[in-house]
Amino acid sequence: MSARIDAYPTHEIAGWRVRPGRVQPYGPSLVPGGVNFSVFSSVATACSLVLFDKHGGALLAELPLPDSFRVGDVWAVTVFGLDPEAFTYGFRIDGPNDPASGHRCDPEQVLLDPRARAVTGRDVWGTPPDWSNPFPYRGFVVPEDFDWQDDRPPGHAPEDLVIYEMHVRGFTRHPSSGVRHPGTFAGLVEKIPHLVNLGINAVELLPVFEFDEFELSRANPVTGGLNMNYWGYSTVGFFAPKAGFAATGANGMQCDEFKTMVRALHSAGIEVILDVVFNHTCEGDHRGPTISLRGLDNQTYYMLTPEGYYHNFSGCGNSLNCNNPVVREFVLECLRFWVSEYHIDGFRFDAAAILGRDAFGGPLANPPVLESAAADPVLRKAKLIAEAWDAGGLILLGNFPSYGRFAEWNGKFRDDVRDFLRGEPGRAGLLATRITGSPDLYEASGRGPRASVNFVTCHDGFTLRDLVSYNGKHNDANDEGNRDGIDDNRSWNCGTEGETSDPEINALRQRQARNAILCLMVSRGTPMLLMGDEMGRTQLGNNNAYCHDSDFNWLDWAAADTGLIAFTRSAIAARRRHPALSLAAHPRSDRPGSHGFPEVSWHGRHPWQPDWSSRLVVAVFAAESAADVVLYAWNSGWLDEWIALPAPPPGHAWFPEINTAMESCPDAPVGPSFQVGPRSSVLLAMRPTGHNP
C-alpha cells in the first residue's frame, strides 16, 4: 500500500507514468514508488527530463514536461517505476540563446542537475574519458540513509584546532603509503593514525566536490605525462562527492564511502573542513562547455559584462553570481546539505572575496550570501574560513565581512613569518604582531585571534622544505615556461639552490623548517600545516603543482623525515600543554598573566628590553587561568644570541622544552642566561624547581 495519497501517476509521458512533481526539495529525491525531480530556470521555454540507462549509458527516454508541471520558475516531475539504481539523468532546456543579452540556452545539450547527489562520468580517477560523449556528466540518485551511529562533531574551539591541509588523492596515492586503496577516502581512513600521532584535530580537504581531472588536460612534453586538473578547483557537481576519490566510485558508492571516512575521522577527534569553490564553475568563459548552470539560467548564475561576456574575478573564466537571491539560496542549501548530510564541520571558501561582489562585480558592504551563511541555523557551529581575496584584485584580509563568524586565511602571517624566517632585517615587530594573533587585523573589530588561520605554507606555493631550499620557483615541469605561479615567495635556499648533499646546508634547512613549525604552534590563532610539511615533502621547487598527478604531489611515506615528524608532534603537544599559547584573545602587555608576568611581555638580550630592529624576538606568554608561563625566543640572525632570561619568581626556574638547534633538550633548569643558536628558536617553560613532569 502506498504511503502517500498522491503517490500515483496522473500522466504518461514517453511511456513513463508520471505526475506533476513536488517542487521542494529542489533536486532529486526518492519518493514512494518513484523519483522526484525539481529544477530551476527562469528562462526555459521548455524542459525535458532525459533518462539514460546507468549501465551502458543508452538513452532510456526523454520526457518533455508539460507547462502544468511548472510552478513559478521551477519544473518538477515525479516518475514512477524508476529503479533508482538503474538510471542516470539530465535536463534538456530550451530557451533564449542570445549571448549579448546574457542567455545561452542550448537545447542540443543535456544538462547536469546542479543538485545531483552523485555524478557519473569520471568514476575512476584517470580512466581515459570517452571524448565523443557529448554528455559526460550525468546525475544519479543515491540512498540518503546512512548509519551514523553516535557520530558527533568534535566541536573543537578554533584556538584548539590544528588544521592539516591535504589532498585526498595525494595523501595516499604514492605506493609507499601501503594502504589498500591508494588515493581514496578509504585510503585516508587507513592513515588516520598518522594524524592522531601528530596531534592533528582537523583536516582541510582540497576540493572534494565532483570535478573533472581531465578538464583542460593536455600532453605535457616536459614531463612526458599529462597536465591535469589535479587540485580540483573547478566544480562540476556541488552536491556530489568526487567519485574518483572513492575506492567504490566504480560502484557508485562514493557517498557511503565519504560518510564512512567522516565518521572515522570524527571518532578520532578530527574535524572535517572542506575547501569549497563557489567563486566559479567548470564551465569556463564564453568559449567553455555548456554543462549545467550556463544552459539552465546563464544570467542568474553568472556575473556578466554588459556585452554578455563573463566577469573573470576567479582567474578561471567565470564568476558565480553568489549574491543573486537565487544563487545565494543555492550556495546556502549546498552548505547546509554538507553539514547535515555529511556531518561536515566547516568550510574554507576559495577566493572568497568573490562572495562579496555584486552581480556586476562591485564589492558589497553587506554581501547577503555571507550574512546569510553567518546566521544560518544549520551552519551555526560550522567553521567558516575565507580566503579573503580573489584573482580580480579584491583583497579583504582583515576586513572580510565576517558577521562575527568568518575566519580568514592570514596571508600576512605567511608573508611576515617567511620574511623573519629568511632573516630579513627590521621584521621583529611584524613577527610579534603575527604571533599574538595579528591584532593589527583583528583587534579593533573585536574578532580576535579566532579570525586568524595562521599558515606558513599551503597548497598554493612552496612546500615548507622547498621554502628553505629554493630562492625562486622552478615550475618548468608545468610546461608554461616557468611563468605560472607566484613570484613573491619570500624564501631562502640556505646557501645553494635546491637539493644538496652539503651537510651544513641541510642542517640549516632542518632548523629553518623547525623554526617555521614552532612559530606556527606558538602563535595565537588557528595553525594550519600543509600535508607533508611534517615529513619534509618536496615539489623540487615547483610552487604551483596544480597539474601533476605524480610524485610532485603524492606524499612519499618512505621518504618521510622521521625526525621532523617527531619534532612536529612535540611542537603541537607543547601548544596543547601550554594554555598560554592558545588563548582566544590577543595577549596584552597591560593585563596581568601569571607569576608577575603580564599576558605577554617582550624581551631581548636583556629582560624587558626588546630590540625591534634586531633579528631576535623574545616573548613571554602567561595565562592567568592556568598559571602557565612560557618563553619563546627566535633568533633569525646568523650568530649566537645569549639572552638574559627574565627572572622567574622564587622557587621557579626556566626549563627548555623545545630547541630547534638540538634534537632534544636536557631536562634541567637553565639560566640566568641562555644561548639561542644561529637561526634557531626555543620554547622554555617556567616550572617550580625540582618538579620535572
Binding site: E85, A86, P143, D147, A186, A247, G252, M253, D256, T260
Partner: protein, 111 residues
C-alpha cells in the same frame, strides 16, 4: 538473484546467487524475513554472490537489525574478497560476523 534456503536445527543456511540490487531488494527482504521466522539464526552464504549495491547493502543491514531485535544472529559465510572490500569501505562490514564458509558459521553457532 537466486535464493536457496536449507534449514537445519541450528540455523537456516541461505545461498545467495547473483546481484542484490534495488530491483530485488524487496524480494530479498521478504524471502529472508520469512526464513528468519522459522529459524533460530540465518547463515548467509555469499560464495555465489556477485554484487551488493547500495540498496542491497541496506536491505542486508535492515535484515540484520530485524533479526537482532528478535534475538537471532545473522552470520555471513564465504564472502568474496571484493564484496567484503566494498562493505568495509562503506561502513557496513562492522555490523556483521563472517566466517570462511557456512560450516564454520554453523559451528560457531553451536558453541
Amino acid at each position: 538473484m537466486n535464493i536457496t534456503t536449507s534449514p537445519s536445527s541450528a540455523a537456516t543456511t541461505v545461498i545467495l546467487e547473483g546481484d542484490i540490487t534495488h530491483a530485488v531488494s524487496e524480494e530479498f527482504q521478504s524471502t529472508l524475513l520469512a526464513a528468519l521466522k522459522s529459524a533460530p539464526a540465518l547463515v548467509l552464504d555469499f560464495s555465489a554472490l556477485n554484487l551488493l549495491t547500495s540498496a542491497g547493502l541496506r536491505a542486508l543491514l535492515l535484515l540484520h537489525r530485524e533479526a537482532a531485535s528478535a534475538g537471532k544472529p545473522v552470520l555471513l559465510a564465504s564472502v568474496p574478497a571484493a564484496v567484503r572490500d566494498v562493505m568495509e569501505v562503506t561502513g557496513f562490514w562492522q555490523h556483521f560476523s563472517s566466517y570462511p564458509d557456512s560450516n564454520a558459521a554453523l559451528a560457531a553457532l553451536a558453541t
